[in-house]
Symmetry: C2
Subunit: 901 residues, 2 copies
């Protein structure tokens, strides 16, 4: 029994283990509950399995029993094999490839239907317009409504949330089947509408959902799926699968998912990602071959650029220009997207109206966008009739549209003629396309439907690249290369570079370069692409957060900003400069009142547990919810009833044996008896830590030598000696407690009399205490010492020392996904650093409440000398002064006075 | 003064900070020394700078002083900018590109010279042979001798060592200028010899050397280069640059370096790697263009495969076969390589002989290899006259060599005809090439010269792929595709797949796929390559460690094995099952004798510091070297002289004031005085923790209440009260100590008399103590309590709890690069886990001493049920029994007895 108890406690430790983890309280409860249920399920299952095999044996005893046994064994072996990682990854890849292909197929059908409707009504422009506009509005409205009703968590890209989840935060309801359904159907409808939205972000989320659900499903077979850290690893692999099967880009998928979701990455998971993403991409492309869409497996947007001379060295400046411009463009996109959200949120009238009619906003945005792209209308100037995919294919075309600067020589084949307009130059079409699509995409991605922004940005980038490429081609009709052969400029190559650069700038990733190679099936432009992507990133990162980080801030998810490049001061700021010195803590020997006060005044998720207020030696940390449970247990009705019962019995005994002497005195004695009885009971229940039962006085105020002794050597066998000691040093604990709680002496001594009478009559205690009595009883209960036995304590919360640099702290926080860390000095707790402080320190003195909208060029306006530097030195001074007063392991005069007591 | 002292101590903490780090002792000293020197240098520099600007002002007071000030400011600004990361990375990329290009150029010249010699002597076969053989023998012997003399650290690939360094281990002399020179020149000579060696591994090392040297050089300008964690980050980027500039493969370089050197990777560094590697690859290729070798920037081994139909779906099984076969081949290569090393080490006669004539082994191996490749000899059957680069170019050729299975239709252009032999089929040539090169490469990479194995393996893989491809082409002359166009099979594509698969299998990486794309400039075979690489890795990883891990084990570098795929039991083993329970520790109040004993009996690098043997609360860890320093300080000559001086003064005083009474008594009193004087002196020197001066008795044996009080409330002002307390409880500490050290009472009391006489005469104390007296004095000194003030204590060593799973422990160890972690239970130290235990637990019960040679298929012979599982449960039982005896925070009866004293 005792062993079980400790085992269970240890198991509980394991859950909060190693390092504090930011958890939304409900999520934790849900998880624990789920784990318990699963455990029970496992037991039931194993029992049923055993009985089944026994049945089989019974049944076939006469015939070939051996054969049957063999079958059962094979079955068992197969089931055990199901636990292997690779089976899970293959299943995940397979499912995601199917989902991706089906979604693509459905989207294609939707888009075809729109075209067919539009084409069939070419007799009447108004009807055409109506068809062109109504169709997307209906689809988007349905998508928005459907996700709103089924699972609002499915809205948006999902990458910001996955980033948060992979940091160790539990987001409620984010990985459920409902969300999966809502996301898949919502996404199909949203993309089927032809709006400038992407499928890549949502696919990361869908893959994670898939992994989570598959994990749950597989846990029916094997035990391994119940391990939390394994599930996190599988989620990381799933993110890679999501991107991989969306673009048929396994390598780019893995890298993109790493860059977008992690700050530290386990090479272990990289493996898993590669395996699953490759399998998924393979199946995804094989499905296309089987469906006779393709002859063999090739790239999604295959290009046919010249291999022998892909580009000239002298073209590199143009590529660099694309990179830098894309950097600014990407920052602008993020800014614009956030500005729109901000605007709608701030305008209270609009907001109120939209909140009431939730579907109005999507419908309005869709109406606006589709009106502007109406092909016979403004759409004719911006290739409005092309779908996103068609636009991209034409933009990556290896022919030059504007040879010799004349749009007339345009080689009209397939969809490419959409870019040609009889009156307008192809350059104008491209510029219009870029400008219009830019704000349209920024606006469209704010619609509350499942959607990503990667693909629209990618297309805009390709268009921008094409524009530069066509300009170059017009400028150098015979190419730049001077000696020998003539190599004309390939504008399609510029489009590839532009696509990679702009999408890289918006997402702050370099792996878009790899995605581009895998999408186009050509790697010949590797150096221009890499240079442009790196330049774009350098520019964009210095101006704005990435789109995903921006959404994280908008949604107020917990996050840790990245350390920028070359911020030297980050190495010079120390933890002591940023830590909070006024740590909320509880002592091992505190009473429930202290607990109550601490819970009332602070709002921290976890509280430090120190040995005593005097030594401040950090023993561990306890979650707030645990303390709340402790408190409610102490003050709860069951305990009160128990108290009444105890008292009744004590009174009975007293009535039968003790003669009526000074009643005041007896009451006190009875009280004492009750208390000790309770504590003995508890000690038999969980014998590990009952020695911590100590005199009922607030330990925070008057620590004594005896206190410390009893903390350090708690015992289960020596309760009596402990009590004796207590009596020795604190003559009457009860009265002392009453004294400290001045004013309440009288009622406390008066109360039991009346209650006693009612209890003597009834052995099955009734709760007949008045409100006032309950309050009194609670007061009394609050004075008792806390029993931490049934409380989950994280025994090794993460510790830093005061000289740890900000840089190192950031590393540790992001490595371990910490929410907070305690700062100790040789065991003594001296401060705490949480994500908030770290965030503040990294982002300067600006307090980030919700979103901080900074115009794209704001950082250039920042003065060169950072304020944090001076702040730090000032804090240093302060701390030096402070330290001279309270050195670690220091001895205060008052303490020595205490000792001489 | 006091503030400075603590600051300095805090700084010292910072160095050993956050988590224990495996450091070779000398390395630490060297580093500290270097840091100190640098700091001094910085001071000197800033002073000189100030004076310089002052001088300038003086000089130009008359003329345009403002202009001068402006110049100085600009200069300062530029110098401060030098600290930026990107400048460092660009410089690194530039330097490495230049080094790579120069090395390549030199190698090309060397190889040309050999060909020229060989070609010029075509009149006489014997002379030809002599020239063919002598040339590489001389070069290799020179390379081996040169590196042996200049820097033996430069031998080999360098990747294993970089992996170890990036784990946080300091390897001595590994990143010095000498090593750089030895590596570059040695590598050039080794590769110039035409032996099957690679340049990629050494380039990782060269890039790291370059980064380290550049860091040192840049630290002359800015302060940021002194930060250790930054340097580690820069080394990680440098590894990427190394691969990137070697193959002009920035993406593959970054990924390969991540896979090969890290287990956890910061996305931050990934950025840096991309930036530097791209720049480096760019410059590397631009140099080729400027040198008129190339027309524009293209891939290193450009292929020209068909774009529209790269491969048929039905060819995939063939690709899969290449992958699986490469997996076995890769494992065999690693095994063979290690077997050769083992064989030479084991054969003591050979070993002895070779150790004497160090250059004989390289010469012999070179002689053997070059004899066999002699073109007119056996070389004619294995394309012996082609250099490595030429072989690769021909193998990746997009023409089919064996059309219709007949070698006669061979399209002889360029070097391709080397594969053709009048008598022998091209298949035989390929098979011979593969078999011969296989063992030659495995043998050649054991030569003690700077060399890698990547490129030879890559070429062998390409040959194997080609073989399969040619076979397929012979089997299906018109391709497999049935409907429509005829697409013949492209054997070059198979060569690409084979190269990626075999090199991936040997190095256990998937990024070879990316390297292959970047090397060939074509990504059309992405799916076959990925599938083959993943299959090869799956096979190879289940059979053998990677080549680099194998070398790490051969060299006995500290390492942590990877957790394999799907080893479920890893989630079930707990830290308590593998930890060492018998932890070596020292207590805060121990005496020097305990220190002495602990140092004598154990060989651990760091020791735990606990509050007391009773409470076992972990306070921190101390390095062994620190303790040794403490001990030698306590027993050193300066202290003895000081002791003599003190005693002389005390005697003087006594002679002048005190009359001669009972001499025995007075001596004792004098002794006491001396002791207290010393302790007071120390307390004024560093006032933080003198309260820990306690009665001179071994705290391990008899902890008392008083002990604890004085530990918890140490004081600098209350020394006297502390002494009073001590006197109160331990009436005569000196005699008590003497008693505990029984037998030594008499000499101790006799000794001072004689010495006293000699001192009274001479105030400048002479060390005239006899050996016996010194021994006695040392005995006495050993009884004193340890003063930890001047000792670097790591106040936050990493802690685990007993229920932490092996999986989590592995993660934490590899994340933080730990060497050991303490296992605590609510503050109490209960065990320690080091890399060794973890390694044992992961690798099963096998003790890995040096190399464990396992035949490639050994793991298939392992029984399915792992022994660790049963071991774990047994240990669990044991632990449960153990725990019931010593619970955390438990109270022993003896303690309560103590309390009643």
């Amino acid at each position: 029994m005792a062993g079980d108890g400790t085992d269970q406690r240890a198991l509980q430790y394991e859950q909060t283990l190693m390092y504090g983890r930011y958890t939304q309280e409900l999520g934790v409860y849900a998880k624990e509950e789920a784990a318990r249920l699963r455990e029970e399920g496992g037991l039931r299952r194993s029992i049923s399995e055993r009985s089944r095999s026994a049945e089989l044996l019974e049944y076939d005893k006469g015939r070939c029993a051996k054969c049957r046994i063999c079958t059962v064994r094979c079955q068992k072996f197969l089931i055990s094999r199901v636990g292997e990682d690779w089976i899970f990854l293959i299943l995940l890849g397979l499912v995601m490839a199917l989902v991706s292909w089906v979604v693509d197929f459905a989207i294609a059908i939707c888009l075809q239907a729109q075209k067919w409707m539009y084409g069939g009504l070419d007799s009447n422009v108004f009807l055409q317009y109506l068809a062109w506009v109504t169709y997307p509005v209906v689809l988007i409205t349905f998508s928005a409504g459907f996700t709103q009703i089924l699972a609002p968590q499915a809205v948006g890209s999902g990458i910001p949330e996955m980033k948060t989840i992979l940091r160790g935060v539990v987001l409620k309801e984010y990985l459920t089947f409902k969300t999966f359904v809502a996301k898949v159907i919502g996404l199909t409808c949203a993309l089927g509408s032809g709006m400038p939205l992407g499928k890549e972000g949502p696919f990361v989320h869908i893959a994670s959902l898939c992994a989570a659900l598959l994990s749950k499903f597989m846990s029916l077979f094997g035990g391994i799926y119940e391990n939390e850290s394994r599930n996190i690893e599988m989620l990381a692999a799933a993110c890679a699968v999501g991107v991989g099967c969306c673009f048929a880009a396994p390598i780019g998928g893995v890298l993109f998912s790493i860059e977008v979701t992690s700050t530290f990455f386990a090479v272990r998971n990289y493996w898993r990602g590669f395996f699953a993403a490759t399998f998924s991409a393979f199946i995804f492309r094989v499905l296309a071959v089987w469906n006779r869409d393709e002859e063999t497996i090739t790239a999604l947007f295959k290009t046919r650029f010249r291999l022998d001379f892909p580009f000239d060295l002298q073209e590199l400046p143009a590529f660099a220009v694309i990179g830098i411009a894309s950097g600014f463009g990407g920052a602008l996109f993020v800014y614009l997207n956030r500005l729109i959200v901000q605007f709608i949120r701030k305008q209270k009238a609009i907001n109120k109206f939209l909140m009431k009619k939730r579907l109005l906003y999507p419908a309005l945005v869709t109406l606006l966008v589709s009106t502007l792209t109406f092909p016979p209308g403004f759409g004719q100037f911006m290739a409005g009739r092309l779908t996103q995919k068609e636009s991209l294919v034409t933009l990556l075309d290896n022919r030059t549209w504007a040879k010799q600067g004349i749009a007339e020589e345009f080689d009209y084949i397939g969809h490419s003629q959409a870019w040609k307009h009889p009156q307008v130059n192809v350059f104008v079409t491209l510029v219009l396309f870029i400008v219009m699509k830019f704000w349209m995409s920024a606006l469209a991605t704010t619609i509350p439907v499942p959607c990503g922004a990667f693909m629209p940005v990618f297309v805009i980038g390709a268009a921008f690249g094409r524009l530069v490429g066509e300009s170059m081609a017009a400028w150098f009709p015979d190419g730049i290369h001077t000696d020998g052969n003539i190599y004309p400029i390939v504008p399609g190559g510029y489009a590839v570079v532009g696509a990679a650069a702009l999408s890289g700038a918006v997402t702050h990733t370099v792996s878009t370069a790899v995605i581009v190679f895998e999408l186009t099936g050509q790697i010949s432009h590797i150096l221009p692409v890499m240079i442009a992507v790196i330049l774009a990133n350098a520019v964009a990162q210095s101006l704005q957060p990435s789109l995903y980080d921006s959404i994280i801030r908008i949604k107020k998810l917990p996050y840790l900003p990245e350390l920028g490049w070359g911020h030297h001061e980050k190495y010079n700021i120390r933890v002591e400069d940023i830590m909070v010195r006024d740590v909320r803590y509880i002592t091992l020997n505190c009473c429930y009142r202290d607990l109550h006060d601490v819970l009332l005044t602070g709002h921290l998720k976890t509280l430090a547990l120190v040995e005593s207020a005097d030594s401040m030696i950090l023993l561990g940390s306890i979650e707030r919810s645990q303390l709340q449970a402790l408190l409610s247990q102490q003050l709860g009705r069951p305990r009160r009833l128990e108290y009444l019962r105890e008292r009744a019995q004590a009174n009975k005994k007293r009535f039968s044996t003790v003669s009526q002497t000074g009643s005041e005195d007896t009451v006190q004695k009875a009280n004492q008896e009750v208390r000790f009885q309770i504590s003995t009971e508890e000690s038999s229940f969980s014998p590990t830590r009952t020695g911590s039962q100590k005199p009922l006085k607030p330990a925070l105020k008057r620590p004594s030598v005896v206190d410390r002794i009893s903390v350090e050597s708690p015992t289960s066998q020596h309760d009596s000696s402990g009590i004796a000691l207590k009596n020795l040093f604190c003559a009457n604990p009860e009265t002392e407690a009453a004294e400290s709680n001045d004013g309440s002496v009288a009622p406390e001594n008066r109360k039991p009399k009346r209650v006693r009478i009612s209890i003597v009559d009834d052995p099955d205690v009734e709760d007949d205490m008045t409100v006032r009595e309950i309050a009194e009883w609670e007061e009394q209960q609050l004075e008792e010492q806390v029993n931490f036995n049934n409380c989950k304590i994280d025994p090794a919360p993460f510790q830093l020392v005061e000289r740890t640099s900000l840089h190192k702290t950031h590393t540790i926080f992001s490595l371990l996904g910490l929410d907070h860390a305690y700062v100790t000095s040789i065991g003594r707790l001296i401060g705490v650093v949480s994500l908030k402080e770290l965030r503040k320190a990294i982002e300067g003195s600006v307090t980030v409440k919700g979103v901080k909208v900074r115009p794209p060029l704001a950082s250039f306006r920042d003065s060169g000398t950072s304020s944090s530097e001076t702040e730090a030195t000032e804090l240093h001074k302060l701390w030096d002064r402070h330290r001279s007063l309270s050195l670690p392991g220091e001895h205060r005069p008052s303490d020595s006075d205490d000792k001489s007591l």
